[in-house]
Amino acid sequence: MRSSFENCIRCTICVEECPAFKANPEYPGPKQAGPDAERFRLDGVETVDKWITLCTQCKRCDYACPYGVDPSKLILKAQIRYVTENGRTLPQVLFANFHYVAVLGSMFSVITNVITSSVLIKRLLRSIGLRSDIPFPRFRFRTLQRFRNQSAVHKPVAAAAKPRKVAFFHGCYLNSNAPDEGRMILAVLEHFGIRVVVPKQICCGLPALGNGDLAKARGFATENSKELAKYVDEGWDIIYSCTSCGRTLIYDYPEILGTDEGNRISENTWNLYEYLLLLRDERRIEFEFKPVKRVISYHIPCHLRGRGVPYPAGDIIRQIPGIELHIQDENCCGFSGSYGFKEKNKHTTDTLGRIAVESLTKANPQAIISDCGSCRMQISNFTDTAVVDPIQVLCEALGIRTSVAGG
């Protein structure tokens, strides 16, 4: 993970974009935490300070920097070093291994969901530095993986001349916590005559990176890449909907794997909606939407924003007749996956959440959409407005009745 910190001219443009900096006076911001401190770290002196863990890895600084410095990469490297020098905390171990937590959580979902909401367990979570005042995500027994080999329920209505085939990378959240939304995605792909499979997969590795465990992240990436590369080699495209998993596959796999496989995966991985727009532009599919009369605010996840392309789900949903869409991309929701579950980050997370939700609800929307499960969780902690995956709006506009919804 290299970044050219010597390009930094200390202009502070990155600082203006940093959510942690604006909410938490303890965090010195990406300029100091990234390129400035890197000069000292290079000497090998133990200069990684504790505040390094206050960065949420939202990547807004990379996006803002006009000089190609990528401060978040420097900070991530320092975060990993901090954990190596100071040892892992229990929450870090827990979240680095979130994949296994999720698998077990879903397997015993009835029990898990009861115990994660029990007072005793909450007290226990608190004692190891986790927040007990926000709901833990519910685990679902019917994960996407469990039924991945079952054939499609929906018949293609607009079979393209030359059908495209895609492998869906769902990630942990859609698999274990929001499998209904996962099934809607599969249904939409099939609706457009796209052949879709759910390959065997584990966590993308981002939670491990974010909790300072590079080796574990590399392990996850290696395992995923073996499976995904097979599909790529046979001409399948990889589709993601979780914008953080997608970012990891595209941006991080080539670097953490350092293999050609990593590059091939990166080059052939697509955002679901970007892919649909591409097929539309190639005239392989057509959008025919039923009107959906609704005011919707769209919270752009930081990791989608960082892709730097016009927001593809927004471009599609805007075309649905009757929809009034308000895009909000200036605020980070503050949750950032496992970051928001940690008690020490509570103030930062809550401050940013309140700011984000205030601007999202300004237009009095009937629904708030966001691609990212973690953003949705956070937003729904601050508002009674329905917070849903964009796929739900798309399903409604396409008239796809999903037997799975609400189940």
Binding site: V15, G308, I327, R354
Partner: protein, 394 residues
Amino acid sequence: MKFDVAVIGSGMSGLMASIYLAERGVSTAVVSRGNPICSISSGCIDIAGSGPDTLKAIDSFPGEHPYHKVGKEALLESIEYFQELMSKHGLEYDGDSRKNRSILTPIGKRRVTSLVPFTMKAAETADGDAFHIISFKDIKDFFPSYLTGRFPDAQVSVFDAGTHTTVGIATKMDNDDFLVSFVNWIREQEIARDKIAIPAILGITKTREIHDRLERDTGRTFFEIPTLPPSIPGLRLYRSLRKIAEGKGVSFFSSAEISDFGKERKKILGLTIKKPGRPDYVDAEAFILATGSFVSGGLFSDRNKFSETVFDIPVHSPAGEELFNEDFFKLGHPIEKSGIRVNDRFIPEDSEFENLFAAGSILAHSETMKYGCGHGMAISTGVAAAKHAEEYIR
């Protein structure tokens, strides 16, 4: 993706060009590598010179100056257009583009500019006009003693905001509960003056509300003093322009390092944006180069060579003059004259392309520091280039 016009650069000139085009139904993309320098500027709009009259100053500019290609009338029109856009968006810019005014800087000196955001409207004080200063405990990037050194009569009250950065304080100001506690604190202070100077931290998103509420609830007049970067008035300016552009349907390609471009004879066909994974492609009928000067990365120089960083257009540089001499930090250094020379239609003279237009501080002979014309140049040449690009594609 395909557009009518692709604007390269998301600074003042690029954003103004894109807004102008999108308003006329031209499908427009903005391709940029990061956030622009205007987001750390003071947020004030310099137009020309340091005398009272901006148009008179322009008369004395050398013949090659881009303002003469824009024309005075079009300059005034474009600035008025900017003011209209900003007013509609809720960030009014006060002033008459034909006139200059002076505002207070953080070191207590006065600086000449033309238009100011409404938060600095009251900054123009006559000499001897007294004001009170409100500052913040441990604030970085703002030092009231510079001001009291020059204005010994000014009293300073210091509020503890619980945070010490301009971005942190401005974020807190946007919170209603915090604002109420701040207003209540002000009411408890003994303030003898009617005017209050405050570092530029009056909120990032709710500035109008905050400013008006402070004035209403305390009965005083407030004016912001720009701080060292990060600069909140610059951030407001950039975010507002970008929001306006998005509202008019401009598509943004950000974090976009242009690695290559396609051409056919005298036409540029499209841009290749280097990204991890697949590159993005932006095709267009016409292109506007608004990547800025050296500091913004539109131009690059080492000791021997000047270059333009996207299309490698030959850069006009004052030949034969010693560039790295002891006068390097003096105004009017020849390096300020360097840039891209354009014809009357803002097409680069030294390039082969007929569908490329250039705008903003990348233009040769602009010497924005010397002539005090930074944002005015950006706005007026941005709109001018957009007009010619629109004419070209029609």
